[in-house]
């Protein structure tokens, strides 16, 4: 399954679908990093609004994406974690420590804009 990656100025926006397999997530991790390098992006928004399950593998992959992109000098924000998904993640013992999160795409963009300002 292809995950669309949209380029909006200095920001890349990846929208996750509900039924992503482990292989899809790994392809996405690779694809996102390549795009960040290619476009010299400063920020990445990963929109997980459609994801109805975030198990240990998905949580870990998201954390890895954010950390890899930070090493590239860009910022990642995870947006749209559904309330019941957040609840299940905590019960499972999966956290996204050190990864920025925001309510939705709009707040994610606002977060990145502020972050860029403070750096410039």
């Amino acid at each position: 399954m292809e995950v669309p990656i949209l380029k909006q100025g200095e920001v890349l926006i990846a929208t996750f679908q509900a039924a992503l397999s482990d292989a899809d997530l790994e392809n996405l991790r690779r694809g996102l990093l390549q795009q960040v390098v290619r476009f010299r992006s400063r920020g990445v928004i990963v929109d997980v609004t459609a994801m109805d399950v975030m198990d240990s593998f998905a949580s870990r992959t998201l954390r890895e994406i954010a950390h890899m992109i930070r090493l590239r000098g860009a910022e990642t924000v995870i947006v749209g974690i559904q309330p019941e998904v957040a609840f299940a993640m905590v019960q499972l013992g999966m956290t996204l420590e050190g990864v920025a999160t925001a309510l939705d795409l709009e707040e994610g963009l606002a977060y990145l804009t502020e972050k860029f300002k403070s750096i410039d």
Partner: protein
């Protein structure tokens, strides 16, 4: 095979997705809340992942169960893999032998209401969990 029993063979990462979708669908059919359906789907995902990581193949069985005065869902994850030599160790948070993937069993126990595991080294592992409707 009893009525309403759903079996999903676990052989690839696509099967993990299929198993958790079927788990969620059955939970919704049985009238579980969105939160509980998500807990059940997440637990199924972890159990299917364990099968793939440790035994490479196995099966997830989902069925409706009737308690004395409540309904519930039962998930059984079984495989003929290497088994777990030390179950107490496997039930500790953060324990993993397959490298990067955690066993996730303590998390599955927290997501569900009842948890049982039997494992014999060399003969496989069966994890049986239940969630009751609130």
């Amino acid at each position: 095979m009893s009525a309403g029993e759903i079996r999903v063979a676990i052989n690839s990462d696509q099967d993990i997705v299929l198993a958790r979708q079927k788990g969620r669908a059955l939970a919704i059919d049985l009238g579980f809340s969105a939160v509980d359906a998500t807990f059940i789907a997440t637990a199924v995902s972890e159990l299917a992942r364990n099968i793939l990581a440790y035994a490479r193949k196995g099966e997830i069985t989902l069925r409706a169960v009737q308690g004395s005065n409540r309904r519930g869902i039962q998930v059984v994850a079984s495989d003929d893999g290497p088994g777990i030599p030390d179950i107490h160790q496997a039930m500790r948070d953060g324990f993993s032998t397959s490298g990067s993937l955690g066993l996730g069993l303590p998390g599955v126990r927290r997501l569900m209401d009842e948890f049982g595991i039997t494992s014999q080294p060399g003969q496989g592992t069966t994890v049986k969990v239940k969630k009751w409707k609130q």
